[in-house]
Symmetry: C2
Subunit: 207 residues, 2 copies
Amino acid sequence: MNEMAATTDRRLLRGAQTRRTIARHAADVASLEGLNGLSIGRLATDLGLSKSGVQTLFGTKERLQLAAVESAREVFSDQVVRPASQAQGGADRLRALVEHWITYVQIPVFPGGCFWTATLPDFDSRPGPVRDLLADQHSDWLGRIAAELRAAVEAGQIAELDVDLAAFQIDAVLTAANIALRLGRGTAVDQARRVIESLLTPPGREA
Amino acid sequence: MNEMAATTDRRLLRGAQTRRTIARHAADVASLEGLNGLSIGRLATDLGLSKSGVQTLFGTKERLQLAAVESAREVFSDQVVRPASQAQGGADRLRALVEHWITYVQIPVFPGGCFWTATLPDFDSRPGPVRDLLADQHSDWLGRIAAELRAAVEAGQIAELDVDLAAFQIDAVLTAANIALRLGRGTAVDQARRVIESLLTPPGREA
């Protein structure tokens, strides 16, 4: 490493930017290996940084896991929530959320597909701050879907329905589609779309 | 260890029974840690066996993972599929499968809840025999649900429906309920029941 590169490396290591870069890469790794697959040594190697530098920035494995989860939420916000917020609240925004979500797992934005599908099953049985943060984010997502459904009902765009039950269903079929997609069964994406569309019946056409 | 115990240990190690015990314990560990959390050394320690003995029985980590997956299938068969087979084919057996499945994650039979929910997200991006076996078992489960739905339609117990789509939905909401249950949101089990019941509309009452 020449002197300029060494100086740059030191500067970067001190900066918030490096912390973000590491956290973002940690989210990628966790999407494939789970959050327990994260280690400070591995991330340092992947990113060509010193292990002690990464250690200084994060301290413990748990803090690294929390940073990865927070980074994943920012990415999700940029890729799914923010673009959908341009659509009108209610049925339009709900469909936009669903389509941006599908794109997010089809690209895939995280190499392992949906970050929460990949990390919740590992952490759901381990009480602690990582599980709490994942669970809160998952609740926020369910709440966001339910809020758009409620807006759609109130605006008369869709028939009356149990919004929490419908949000549970929408999340369930999207998660199932993500797994199926990773297993090579891409038709599940259209199955998820059909289920979701069936919940968005215009008023007067319901059963 | 006294001489009798040592003799017993050697005999056990040679036997198929020991292999089954190890594979069963490996399925428990994988339900919590994922299949990558398995190691021959760890299983030997947990079960008080010698590492070389376990090594002799399984050889590679992949063979150990495959044995865990096969063991999980046997357990699932004993806890869910076989008891439900006593119910009449069609809607009754489908409801029995669902109820036995819910019991299987509520007990829970595997400490981490549903074995496939815990292991598929980790393995869905890793091509190879373990992924193939998990995916085949998941397809079999979807096929089993679809078959009972088809039987229910043919027997006039439920209204005509797209059986593959309904099977996809049933699996999706059960999986989502399992995750929610692990996160302490037990109401999801009833949400799953309501969604499934809504798919089993008697003929003539459909939308």
